[in-house]
Symmetry: C2
Subunit: 376 residues, 2 copies
C-alpha cells in the first residue's frame, strides 16, 4: 500500500445535527461494550430508545455529475453557468425527493440521470454529440449494489432516455448488455419512449461536429506506446467528451450507480467508451461503493476504473477518498488519460475527484442543502 | 480475507529440471542475503555466473481454452474427442513456437486464438453459433499486460478472425472498443480478412439454433432477484455458450490475454457477453496476471471477473490459485452463474478453474510437454 496516496480523507458526510450526535455517542458506547460489559449494554439500550423516540432522519446521499473537462470560469457566461447550475439542482431535487421518502437508490439515480438526459446542455440524451456520420449514438448503464444486477445499452439512436432502457435490460431481460438496432427493438417491446432521431439535433452539437471534423483533418498524432501514427485523438476534449451520472445511498443502505452519454463528437467505427461498461464507467456494490465516471473513456476501460476503486476498498482495506484519488489523480494521468468520477460508499462518504479543469457536479444528504460545483 | 478459499495452491509450474533447481537455490540465497551479507553475495554471484554459462531456457507459459460447459465423457465419441484434442494441441503448438523463439505473449495468444477461430468445433470465428435472426455475430478482445493497452470488437458478422481485428483496434486506433457495422468498416480499412457471412455457416450450429428456438419457446423462467418472468434463460447452456481464449507469459516477462466468441445461440437484441469486455472476460497486467474467461457471460460482467482476480492479487496480496478459485468456485455459482477461466500470473503459475462439468483446455511451458484436458 506504500505507493498509494497519503491524502487525508475529507469526510464530506461529517454529521452536524443533534440526532447525528446521539448516533455518534451510541457508536462510541458500542465500541467500548466489551470493556464496560453489562453496564454499557444498558446505556446503549437507553440511548437507542431515546434515538427511536426522536425518529431521526435516516442517512441518504445523492451525488451527480454532468461531465468533466476544461471548464474555465473565464470562458463561462453567467447565463450558461446558471443553466448548468439550475439543471444540476433540478436533478438533485428529483433524486433526493425519492430518497427522502424512503425510495430506492436505483429509482433516485435513474430519476436524476433522466433530468440530465432531457437537458440539451449535457452530452447525454437530448444533448448528445454527433458521430462522424452526423448521427447521435447513445450509451448508458446502471447497476444495483444490493444484487450486483446490471444493465447497459450502447450505440442506440432513437431512445429518449437510455438510462431507463438500461434499467429495463437489467430487470426485464436475462442480459446485461445490448447494442444497436437489437437494443432499440428491445426498448420498443418494453414500451420505452422512442423518438425520431431528429429529436437529438441541437445546433450547438452540430457546430461542435463541424469544428471537430476540421480539427481532426488537421492533426495527426503519434501513439506513445507503439510510436505509430494513429487515427486522430481529440485535440479539444471539451466539446468532444461529456457524460452524466448519479450515485446514491438510500435509507435502506443500498447503493446504486447510473451513467449516460452521447459518447464522443465525430466518433467513427461504432466506438464505445466506458459509460456502458460495467466496472469501467459504472459500478455499485453494497459491500463497498457506487461509482459513475466521466472522461476519456478508453483510459477508464483500460484501468477498469470503477471496479478497481471498489477492489482497493474490499481487498486493500482502503478508504474511498485515497482509493479514488490514487486512480483519478495518479494512475489515470500516468497512463495519459484524464477525467473524473463521483462516488458514495456504503457509509455515506462521498468523493468527487477530477484531474481536469472542472467537473459539473453536486450532492445532497439527508437534512442538508443541495451543493452544486463546477470549477476546481 | 477470512472469507476466501483456504484451498492449497497447486503450483503447476513447479520446476523439475536441473537449471530450474539452480534458479531455486539462488532464490533461496537471495532471501537470506540480509543475514549472510557479503558472503551470500559472493555465493549468489557464483551461481548466477554458473547459470549464465548453462544458458538455461528462459521461462514462458501458454494456456488456452475452447470453452466450458456440460462436457461429459459419456456423451463424447472418440472421433469428436480427437477433433478437440488435435485442435487444442495445434493451437498450443502455434503459440508456443512463437514464445520459444522469444516472441511476444501478444503474438502467441493471437496466433493460438486464430487456430481455434478457424476450427468449426469451437464457438468462435468459423464455428460461431447463430443468433435468433440466423446470423453469426462475433465478439473478441485482447489486452497487453505490459502497457495495459486493449482492443475489442463486438457484433461483427463478416470478419474471419475477430481477435486480429481486436488487436488492430488496440494498435491502430485511439479506441478500445468498436461495434457492428462501424467495426467492420474499420477492419476493412485495416486490411483484415473479410468473408461473406455464409463462411460462418456450419450444419451443427444451424441445428443448434433450431433446438434452441424450440427450447426457448417452451420455457419461461423466473428471475431470482426480481421474481418477475423474464426473457428465456438458456436451458441447455452446452450448445448455447462457448468461447475460446489464450493467455501467455513470454520470455521477456510480459503477459497477454485474448478471448473470442460467437456469443450465445439464439441471442436477440444485440446481446453482448463478457468476451469483448475488458476486465470481465479478458484482462492482462504485468504486475499480476493474464486471464481469459468462458461461461455465462452476464455473470462474468456483473462480477467484473478477470479484473477482480487481478485486484485480489494486487491489493489483497493473494496468490493466483486461491483468488481464481474464490471467484469461479464460490462467487460465480453463488450469484447463479457458471463457467471457467484460464490464467497465468507474472511468475508463470497457472490456474484453470471451472465449475461446469468440463472445459476444453491445455497448457505448455518452456521445455515441457503440451498438456490437453477436457473433463474434470
Amino acid at each position: 500500500m506504500k505507493r498509494l496516496s497519503s491524502a487525508v480523507e475529507t469526510d464530506l458526510s461529517k454529521p452536524s445535527s443533534t440526532t447525528e450526535g446521539n448516533y455518534d455517542l451510541i457508536t462510541f458506547l458500542e465500541r467500548y461494550r466489551t470493556s464496560f460489559n453489562g453496564l454499557t449494554l444498558i446505556f446503549s439500550l437507553f440511548f437507542t430508545i431515546t434515538l427511536s423516540a426522536q425518529q431521526p432522519q435516516k442517512k441518504y446521499v445523492l451525488v451527480i455529475h454532468g461531465g468533466a473537462g476544461t471548464i474555465l470560469k473565464s470562458q463561462m457566461t453567467p447565463e450558461k453557468e446558471k443553466g448548468y447550475t439550475d439543471a444540476l439542482n433540478e436533478a438533485l431535487e428529483k433524486g433526493s425527493a425519492i430518497l427522502n421518502q424512503g425510495g430506492s437508490a436505483l429509482d433516485a439515480v435513474e430519476a436524476s440521470v433522466r433530468i440530465l438526459e432531457d437537458n440539451p446542455l449535457f452530452n447525454a440524451g437530448k444533448g448528445a454529440v454527433f458521430t462522424n456520420e452526423g448521427k447521435n449514438e447513445l450509451d448508458a448503464s446502471i447497476m444495483n449494489g444490493k444484487t450486483l444486477a446490471a444493465g447497459a445499452i450502447a450505440g442506440v439512436t432513437t431512445i429518449k432516455n437510455p438510462i431507463s432502457t438500461a434499467r429495463a435490460v437489467m430487470e426485464k431481460s436475462p442480459h446485461v448488455m445490448m447494442t444497436g438496432r437489437g437494443a432499440e427493438q428491445f426498448a420498443k417491446e418494453q414500451g420505452q419512449e422512442i423518438m425520431d432521431p431528429s429529436y437529438f439535433y441541437t445546433e450547438d452539437r452540430w457546430k461542435g461536429l463541424q469544428r471537430a471534423k476540421q480539427d481532426d483533418a488537421e492533426t495527426i498524432i503519434v501513439d506513445s506506446i507503439t510510436k505509430q501514427s494513429l487515427l486522430k485523438q481529440p485535440e479539444n476534449k471539451d466539446y468532444k467528451y461529456g457524460t452524466v451520472g448519479a450515485v446514491a445511498l438510500d435509507q435502506h443502505g443500498n447503493l446504486a450507480a447510473a451513467t449516460s452519454t452521447g459518447g464522443m463528437t465525430n466518433k467513427k467505427f461504432g466506438r464505445i467508451g466506458d459509460s456502458p461498461i460495467i466496472g469501467a464507467g459504472t459500478y455499485a456494490n453494497n459491500k463497498t461503493v457506487a461509482i459513475s465516471g466521466t472522461g476519456w473513456g478508453e483510459y477508464f476501460i483500460r484501468l477498469v476504473m470503477a471496479k478497481t476503486i471498489s477492489d482497493m476498498m474490499e481487498f486493500g482495506k482502503m478508504k474511498l477518498k485515497p482509493a479514488a484519488d490514487e486512480m483519478i489523480m495518479k494512475r489515470l494521468p500516468a497512463l495519459g488519460g484524464d477525467g473524473g468520477l463521483i462516488a458514495v460508499d456504503k457509509d455515506g462518504n462521498i468523493a468527487m475527484p477530477f484531474c481536469t479543469e472542472g467537473m459539473y457536479r453536486g450532492y445532497v444528504k439527508e437534512g442538508g442543502k443541495k451543493v452544486v460545483l463546477i470549477y476546481k
